[in-house]
């Protein structure tokens, strides 16, 4: 069992029609708990749950209002809750330092808040809020990292989790503490 916190970054390039802009949000703090079961000295099934703090992203697109093209700035805020199951392989046996690698399925409930603002010579329009939307994303992921034991059963762990959807869609760098029962 272990508890972790980390730094979440996610690709949102589909929101921004202007090439070259920052299309990743990377100001999200993530926390989670994982429970695992060792089938052998090396193979482990892991179930983890976690949340991430809200992260903002500005996206720019062009739209047509009253027959005139105008720029639209959309302010998004993303927050996630997630559940993941994975199969992991732990290198070495009964050692003080264990690298590991794994792969699994990640279920993410992504909550999105959005406010639009127009930039044009049209009369000023206040920001238009959209209703909060929650979307379930089901994606594969891979993880690799290591555990360093401080006592025979308590350990420090760190890993990098990569979630995929047409390439790397999210990266999560995690640190935490855990204990073997």
């Amino acid at each position: 069992m272990s508890g972790t916190f980390g730094w979440l970054s996610a690709d949102k390039s589909e929101l921004d029609s202007y090439a070259g802009g920052n299309d990743w949000y990377n100001r999200s703090l993530s926390g989670g708990v994982s429970l695992g079961w060792y089938w052998t000295d090396h193979w482990k099934t892991d179930i983890e749950g976690g949340i991430s703090s809200g992260a903002e992203l500005q996206a720019y697109t062009t739209t047509v209002v009253d027959g005139r093209p105008v720029s639209l700035r959309s302010s998004y805020e993303f927050a996630t809750r997630r559940l993941a199951i994975s199969q992991q392989y732990q290198f070495y046996r009964n050692a003080w330092f264990h690298p590991f690698a794994g792969a699994g399925l990640d279920l993410t409930w992504e909550q999105t808040d959005r406010v639009d603002e127009f930039f044009s010579s049209l009369p000023f329009r206040p920001g238009t809020p959209h209703p909060t939307r929650t979307e379930l994303l089901t994606r594969p992921f891979a993880t690799f990292g290591f555990k360093a034991y401080m006592t025979p059963r308590a350990f420090f762990r760190t890993d990098l989790k990569l979630v995929f959807k047409e390439g790397v869609d999210e990266t999560l760098l995690r640190f935490g503490l855990g204990v073997d029962f």
């Binding site: 730094w7 100001r27 046996r93 050692a95 330092f97 360093a148 034991y149 059963r153 760098l173 640190f175």
Partner: protein
């Protein structure tokens, strides 16, 4: 002429392969008396090791046992494995022993495993520091 050259090339390509495949058979065949000598030499060597020594034993099935020598008989060594969580003693008969080495810890107590663990800890700590710094910069800039 072309046929002859082609035949020559084929023979040239195949011949070294045949020779190579035959070589290990000659090298791997080991006369029995040598194995008996190995066993006796290893038993003699084991007899001179002090109880409590750190040793590395390699068995004939290429299993490596690292640990502390806790008992020695005419037939076998008994080793306490050096692991994170304590494990039962392992008895290695001399008949199954392929190699035996004494491992001497360095005077400072440093070892490869410990060095890796310290390096990993320092690296993780540094990464943690960078992460905190990034958060401070990112949120502090608003």
């Amino acid at each position: 002429m072309k046929r002859f050259i082609a035949l020559l090339l084929c023979v040239g390509l195949v011949a070294p392969g045949c020779a190579t495949s035959q070589t290990p058979r000659v090298q791997t065949a080991r006369p029995t008396p040598a194995r008996v000598a190995d066993r006796d030499v290893l038993a003699d060597y084991a007899g001179q090791l002090r109880l409590g020594s750190r040793i590395k034993a390699t068995t004939t099935d290429n299993r490596i046992v690292r640990g502390t020598l806790v008992k020695r008989t005419d037939q076998a060594l008994v080793i306490q494995p050096r692991t994170r969580v304590a494990e039962p003693l392992i008895e290695v008969p001399f008949d199954e022993l392929l190699a035996l080495e004494q491992e001497v810890p360095s005077p400072s107590g440093a070892s490869t495993g410990r060095a890796v663990a310290i390096g990993a800890g320092v690296g993780a700590g540094a990464a943690l520091g960078v992460l905190f710094l990034l958060f401070a910069v990112l949120w502090g800039g608003d």
